[in-house]
């Protein structure tokens, strides 16, 4: 079982769109996939039409008083399950802080799912917190969507440095450009140049496309409702690259 997380300190960079589309494509590839919507905003749950509610809330899951298994919901797609968000996830830092070895907690919770799933995607809330640290320790591959600006590159460097300083297991970082505005020269320059210079930046970039925004109306992955679209093709390329590197 591999654990992949979509993560960025910044919000609104395309984490959820990536998690939803890649988990769908992984399932279409024949893998058994679980997506855990860790963000209390519950966007991934919404996109799969699943109500963001977990009995006992985040506390019960993190403490282990409620089986993760019992909270999992099937999506409308074969082999793709979702562990929904819950509004109480906003307090996960506090709950984690009250456990022993909080940064290893998530890895321990996920370990028993290895029999049922080939890949687990974690869709993380923005920010850098105890939860992020626990995610980093549980993750094999960290997928970091970047908006191609100088500032966001600085953030990637900060993140890489932070991970380098972690004890124990460190995830493999794979950044990729997201929400590229083709009208902006700077976007295009950075997005074409950086992948050739750095091996932690994917060759595939996801443009800013209205079809991706349309996901919130269709409430489904792009490749499910517009399989022949450019957006779907971009995510397929990204998935091929991620699969090649992480699985």
């Amino acid at each position: 079982m591999k654990v992949l997380a979509t993560y960025n300190i910044k919000g609104g960079v395309g984490k959820t769109a990536t998690a939803v589309n890649l988990s769908y494509l992984a399932a279409m590839d024949g893998l058994r996939v679980l997506l855990w919507d860790l963000d209390p905003q519950a966007a991934a749950s919404f996109l799969f039409r699943i109500r963001p509610r977990v009995k006992g809330g985040g506390k019960a899951l993190i403490r282990g008083s409620r089986e993760i298994d019992a909270a999992i919901k099937g999506t409308d797609f074969d082999r793709l399950d979702l562990l929904p968000a819950d509004f109480t996830y906003r307090n996960l830092d506090l709950v984690l802080g009250a456990t022993k070895k909080p940064t290893r907690r998530l890895a321990r919770l996920l370990a028993p799912l290895a029999a049922d799933y080939d890949v687990i995607f974690l869709d993380c809330p923005p920010g850098i917190s105890l939860l992020s640290e626990s995610v980093l320790q549980a993750t094999d591959g960290l997928l970091v969507p970047l908006i191609p600006t100088v500032l966001s590159l600085r953030t990637l460097d900060q993140l890489t440095e932070f991970i380098g300083g972690l004890n124990g297991k460190r995830p493999d970082v794979l950044a990729f450009f997201s929400m590229i505005d083709r009208r902006k020269r700077l976007h295009l320059d950075i997005a074409s140049q950086l992948p050739t210079e750095r091996d932690d930046v994917a060759a595939t970039a996801i443009p800013s496309l209205s079809l991706i925004e349309r996901m919130s109306l269709e409430r489904a992955p792009v490749a499910a409702f517009a399989p022949r679209s450019r957006a779907a093709e971009c995510y397929r390329q990204l998935w091929a690259e991620v699969k090649d590197r992480e699985l």
């Binding site: 039409r49 999992i72 919901k73 409308d76 399950d81």
Partner: protein, 519 residues
């Protein structure tokens, strides 16, 4: 945790296209139903052994072809399923001859040496629908199955809906299943499609068993009780003829043979309640039939035991026994052809039709014992014979004495089985158990002796063939030694087994049985 899944059988009149099935309207407004793709056509064969071993174990085996890759689907008592892809299978087939996989592994245990045969065949149109909740989230899959049965009789089954919950949505799926069941007027669990297919042809599962299950009443005339028993045995003989002629598996002949032996015992032990001369007229014919089946069955037993015997060799290598195996197969072919000539002969056809006519025309005797009196008198006599003959056996007695005792034990056992319905079930079980220990020991003794004699004959036959290697004869010699050892062990055990059977406690149990037959 297996997903919740429940079947609902629709009324025969609800025959619209899946999207128009009237019963689906009852799900609104809470749920809506949407198509999930085109329908597909699949062919199904339900398989079981002739004696319904899978059905008795709560298992259903389907071979599904058409559309997707062909597969075997084995459903357990709790609805749990094991599947295995397997293309171009033909039936009948022994479980051991199926391609390797999880289904075969379970079937080898459940079906054993009996072949799998189609119990029913059908063509189904299958369409999948989604059931959505108010969030337009799929909460269950609805499989609409329209099945036209082609075997054992042609029939259109009512449409069948299978509601399968999406993970995490069991309560809603249960609600959907309940609404559909209510609308279809279904009370409780739906019967399986196999049972429905059989029922449509006027049949039912488990309509054959090699165990006797004859219902008698204590006060019926003894002659009519015997007639009931003999007709039941005749049904068994006839039921096993087609399978024997097609050589589907070894047990058709075995069951046929046992029914013949039981018939002969019934004629011998109680034939005097039949009209004068009837038993004497048919007994030689049934002896002929029994003798006709013996050589093939003996060779079958050898071949069934062959692998164990080969694996049990210590000095010789199992492969050295191969010429013996070839010889057995060759002899079996010769004897089997002789057997089927007999079963296709006018003599056999006449025996069956005359015997049925004779039994069917029987009325009650003007005088004669009631069933229960007949049963107890004959049982006591048979029991006494076993005790008397057994007590006369000493360590020096010749093997023939033990063979005779085995026959008497068999007769006692058959009488118990014929009249089982007249006795208290617990007392009956205990009496059979007492007897069985002794029978097993005597059977081992005699079977091993007969096998040694046969082995000598096989060896001389093979010697006549100059190509037989010496290693094969040496391996057979070792085999004979092992059989002799087992025979000796059985002989050593005999005294103890007989002592148990003749113990005061066992005798008391038998007296309770024959004295306490329900009046």
């Amino acid at each position: 945790m297996p997903a919740f899944s429940q079947a609902v059988v629709l009324a025969a009149s609800d025959r619209g296209q899946p999207g128009e099935l009237g019963v689906l309207d009852t799900l609104a407004p809470r749920f809506s139903v949407h198509s999930a793709g085109r329908s597909r056509t699949v062919r199904r064969a339900w398989l079981d052994t002739f004696d319904w071993r899978l059905h008795r174990a709560g298992l259903t085996l389907e071979y599904v072809t058409g559309g997707r890759p062909a597969e075997l689907v084995l459903t357990g008592p709790a609805g749990d399923q094991v599947t295995q892809q397997a293309s171009r299978l033909t039936w009948p087939a022994l479980a051991g001859d199926l391609p390797a996989g999880p289904v075969r592994d379970r079937l080898c245990v459940a079906a054993g040496i009996r072949a799998l045969l189609p119990a029913a065949r059908a063509v189904s149109t299958v369409q999948e629908l989604r059931v959505l909740n108010e969030d337009t989230k799929t909460i269950a899959w609805l499989t609409v199955d329209r099945t036209a049965v082609s075997y054992p009789g042609a029939a259109q089954l009512p449409a069948r809906l299978q509601v399968t919950a999406v993970r995490g949505y069991q309560p809603q799926a249960e609600r959907v299943a309940q609404l559909l069941a209510d609308a279809a007027g279904q009370d409780g669990a739906a019967s399986g499609p196999l049972d429905a297919a059989l029922a449509a042809a006027g049949r039912h599962a488990e309509d054959y068993s090699n165990k006797l299950n004859i219902q008698l009443s204590p006060d019926m005339p003894g002659r009519l009780a015997l007639r009931t028993i003999l007709l039941d045995l005749l049904d068994t003989i006839q039921a096993n003829v087609p399978g024997t002629l097609r050589d589907i598996d070894t047990e058709f002949l075995h069951d046929l043979r046992v029914a013949v032996r039981r018939t002969r015992s019934a004629l011998k032990l109680a034939g005097d309640v039949l009209p004068a001369g009837l038993a004497a007229r048919f007994a030689p014919e049934f002896k002929w039939l029994g003798d006709l089946t013996t050589p093939t069955r003996d060779l079958d037993v050898y071949l069934l035991d062959y692998q164990d015997m080969a694996d049990g060799l210590v000095s010789a290598k199992p492969a050295e026994l191969a010429p013996f195996h070839d010889h057995l197969v060759g002899q079996r072919g010769i004897e089997y052809r002789r057997l089927i000539r007999g079963l296709r002969s006018a003599r056999f056809a006449r025996l069956i039709s005359d015997w049925r006519a004779a039994l069917s025309g029987l009325g009650p005797a003007r005088s004669g014992p009631r069933a229960v009196d007949l049963a107890t008198a004959r049982l006591r006599r048979a029991h006494q014979k076993v005790l008397r003959q057994g007590q006369a056996i000493s360590p020096d007695s010749p093997a023939e004495r033990l063979h005779d005792l085995r026959k008497k034990c068999k007769e006692l056992r058959y009488l118990l089985e014929f009249f089982a319905s007249l006795f208290d079930p617990q007392a009956y079980q205990r009496a059979v158990k007492d007897l069985k220990g002794l029978q097993d020991c005597l059977g081992e003794f005699q079977d091993r002796q007969v096998q040694q004699q046969e082995l000598r004959e096989f060896a001389s036959q093979m010697m006549a063939d100059r190509d037989t290697p010496a290693t094969a004869l040496l391996a057979m010699g070792e085999l004979a030694g092992q059989l002799g050892l087992r025979q000796h062990q059985a002989r050593d055990e005999f005294a103890g087994r007989f002592r148990d059977f003749a113990s005061p406690a066992s005798e008391h149990r038998f007296r309770v049985l024959t004295g306490g037959a329900s009046q």
